[in-house]
Symmetry: C2
Subunit: 503 residues, 2 copies
């Protein structure tokens, strides 16, 4: 068998696995959008069975043999070529997968689907007890998963690697700690400025249908392609890739708060633009896949915050906003609106947090999930620990669990080790944006004219098209000429908030 | 291995196949409801790959060995017990499946998905040429399928058996011919009566949202359970079972014609009530599966026509109708409305045909698809042949192909041999309804009071719960005490139309 033949067979196998995985994405998307309430139990069976099939194929010894054969071939010589990337990344995944027994994979899927369903109910009823047994089960299984995968220092390392390959818990902790040390004085200065943004503007009546139409218009304007995607409604918004030309974003609507749906849509559209920017001919193979969740999040945060919460963006969109919501926005100026959407205040809900306090929400979760995983914290004590950490880091405490420990879907969905990628995403986003701004000679000017395509094309070229040719750390350095740093994010925040709050 | 162990393993395997099949149903449902336009090609790949996996499992030699072992076991002795039914039907399916090569199964799935997508476009553009190459391909593959399966007289027999097990082409032809001989004079008498129903009532403005709400109310009232199901919009309405508690119906709306969505919803809800009435503990196994498409259609036609187009039904629902569509129905009497929805006239569109002419639409398709399959008719000559047959049997000719040969999705979806089950469904429905009427002491009285549950329970007990314990012919005889006959349908039609048209 020539290396070329072996490589073709490898790709064929990986593409078949991708067919199954993309079917799994549809099952998950449907479960969270349209599935009838009584169908959940069987859906968990379908997804568990499918995950077992996928695992079986991912651990097929034939795959191992092909990877072995290709390891020393000329195709693997350049680790950043499409072929080299394919061989390297599939090898890495194979080596991880063979450590996991199929029964554990199926059990984790089943527990995650049922956990999500219980979470929806628990959050609706504000009843942590409905969720607790599922959390017990999930953390128990995640500990097993970490034990199977192995780790040097902390079981959390083994899980984090699924979302941010090659990242280490200790490094992430260091980064987040350093970030926190710069954020706290900034937030303190803002709170002591005596100025308050006119947030009441955002809490007027924003009719649902108009929100949906305006959100879709904005998503399409920044580059999300609706012939290859959709927007639907869900409890906890997400973006799902169901095929090379099928990317679906979701949101939730609050008729008395503008931000929830609109910035949620920009956020998910950012994920979607990344997904739609991957090379379709490499769909299901590493050169056509996202680098990491942190890099994925950098794309959503870039569009949501760096673009969507900029004054330039609203210079362009404010007239359309006024047209879409005449009653709510009639007496509002662009400046007032811009300030309102950039209101800073420690708050309870992560997804609605401002740019300055957001990462503190991540620190809470990052520390708690490590403690849960290690067994230093019992699931029964989690709500109290949550309240305590929020008091300590953000100075606020939830009145109930729905706005506290039950606000996120992640743990119920088996996503442990996922949260820090949100903070990494914020850092990557600011660093990429700074570079794009330099390369394109001033993004504000383009954005204020509604010209989003140059930025999309820049992202396509530098971030989307390479797929997994480089790790997250390598990509950041290649694209921006230096390693990941807090400076771009902190500079951005200071530049934005200093004039608003007279710092 | 004891027979009990073998039976358990057999059921386990069949349930795993059902998991895959139900996932395939989701792929199909999504493709026809929400999938973004550009995603079709990959969806065809997903479905083809899945159908290959399913075929592989359906033809697993282990399944053959288990069935062999169980054939002579005590569990197989009573062919109408749940166990005997399981063994008998899985054997029958296995023997058919092993005759089909996986490549043909995958190719048929791919061609069907792409065919459906081409059909949507061809119908929209009224351009038969977009559809013709797909029809060529599909009939070519269906001929191959028939050759693999084998047949005594006509290749059509081999295909018909997929939809109406044990039925034979010659017998169906005889039944349809006999039916036609009684229908033609009835339709003739109606046309010569000089009376015309006030159909203009139905062509007023019926706002879409109100149609959807009213249709859902009616579907829920007759027994469709929305906690275990949904209603969505599509091009060519269908009902799909995605799990033991997940049955989805679909419809399409015409704001200027009441019947399209409303009777479509009742029709699909009838399918759904059957699906929801199957025993969930036998989901994916013959005792929990529908007998045949003809029996399935009997349930949809029963609710659509025997119930939904009865005067009693509208005695109950007319006030609600008037409330839902005040502008359209303000000046309309119950009698006028009842006559309007029972307007008889030869027409072009099958799904909107009245009860008297409907089966003539089936005869056209039944004859044409036999000719196409045999090669007596070329795909290129189909539109002309269609027009000719419509002229001959119904006295009307379509102006264009969209309202002619392109009106149905079936051939594009690879469903050849499916149409006659619609006519069989009408016959079964009338015979079941007549019996239920006798058993329940007059259905009109119950229906006029909005009491649908006794009829649902009767159907549950006699038709739904037995699953595949009996063949269609056996079931009809068991439930009604005599073999299938035209009399109940003809009696129903005469009873209904004689007073309306003064016959």
């Amino acid at each position: 068998m020539t290396p070329t033949d072996a490589f073709e067979e490898l790709c064929h196998q990986a593409r078949e696995i991708a067919l199954l995985e993309s079917i799994g994405e549809l099952l998950g998307w449907d479960e969270r959008t349209y599935m009838p309430p009584a169908a959940g139990e069987y859906r968990a069976e379908q997804m568990a069975f499918l995950s077992g099939l996928i695992h079986q194929r991912r651990t097929d010894p034939r795959l191992g043999a092909l990877l072995e054969e290709l390891a020393a071939s000329p195709l693997a010589q350049d680790p950043h070529s499409d072929e080299g990337t394919t061989i390297r990344e599939l090898r890495r995944q194979y080596d991880k997968q063979v450590k996991l027994p199929r029964s554990l994979v199926e059990e984790l899927t089943r527990a995650s689907v049922l956990g999500q369903q219980a979470w929806v109910q628990a959050r609706q009823d504000n009843d942590y007890r409905l969720f607790a047994p599922h959390a017990e089960k999930i953390f128990h299984l995640k500990r097993q998963q970490a034990a199977c995968l192995g780790y040097a220092d902390h079981p959390y390392d083994a899980l984090l690697d699924d979302y941010e390959p090659a990242a280490r818990t200790a490094e992430v902790a260091k980064v987040l700690d350093a970030l926190r040390q710069e954020l706290v004085p900034l937030v303190g200065a803002i709170m002591q400025s005596g100025r308050t943004a006119p947030v009441g503007i955002l809490q007027r009546e924003y009719p649902l249908a108009a929100q949906e139409a305006f959100g879709k218009t904005a998503a399409a304007a920044i580059g999300f392609d609706f012939t290859r995607g959709r927007l639907d409604t869900t409890h906890h918004p997400f973006c799902a890739g169901l095929g090379p030309r099928d990317c679906r974003i979701t949101t939730r609507y609050d008729e008395r708060f503008f931000n929830t749906a609109f910035f949620g849509i920009l956020h998910e559209a950012g994920h979607g633009i990344y997904d739609q920017g991957l090379r379709p001919q490499w769909y299901g193979l590493p050169p056509g896949q996202a680098v990491s969740l942190g890099i994925h999040e950098s794309q959503s945060r870039l569009w949501e915050n760096l673009v969507g919460r900029s004054r330039a963006f609203w210079q362009h969109f404010f007239p359309q906003l006024a047209g879409a919501f005449p009653a709510a926005v009639a007496d509002v100026t662009l400046d007032a609106f811009y300030w309102a959407i950039n209101h800073v205040a420690p708050s309870l809900i992560r997804v609605e947090a401002d740019e300055a306090t957001y990462n503190l929400h991540i620190v809470v979760r990052f520390e708690l999930e490590q403690a849960l995983l290690k067994g230093d914290l019992a699931v029964g004590d989690l709500p109290a620990a949550w309240r305590e950490k929020y008091g300590e880091y953000l100075g606020v405490e939830p009145h109930d669990d729905a706005d506290g420990v039950l606000q996120d879907i992640h743990w119920s969905a088996g996503l442990v080790g996922y949260f820090p990628t949100y903070a990494l995403g914020n850092l990557y986003a600011a660093q990429f944006f700074e570079q794009a701004d330099r390369d394109l000679g001033g993004l504000d000017r383009l954005i204020a004219r509604g010209e989003f395509n140059p930025l999309v094309e820049w992202l396509r070229k530098h971030i989307h098209h390479p797929g997994q040719r480089y790790t997250a750390a390598e990509l950041v350095e290649r694209v921006t000429g230096r390693p990941l740093s807090h400076d771009p994010l902190m500079n951005h925040l200071k530049r934005k908030f200093a004039p608003l709050y007279g710092l």
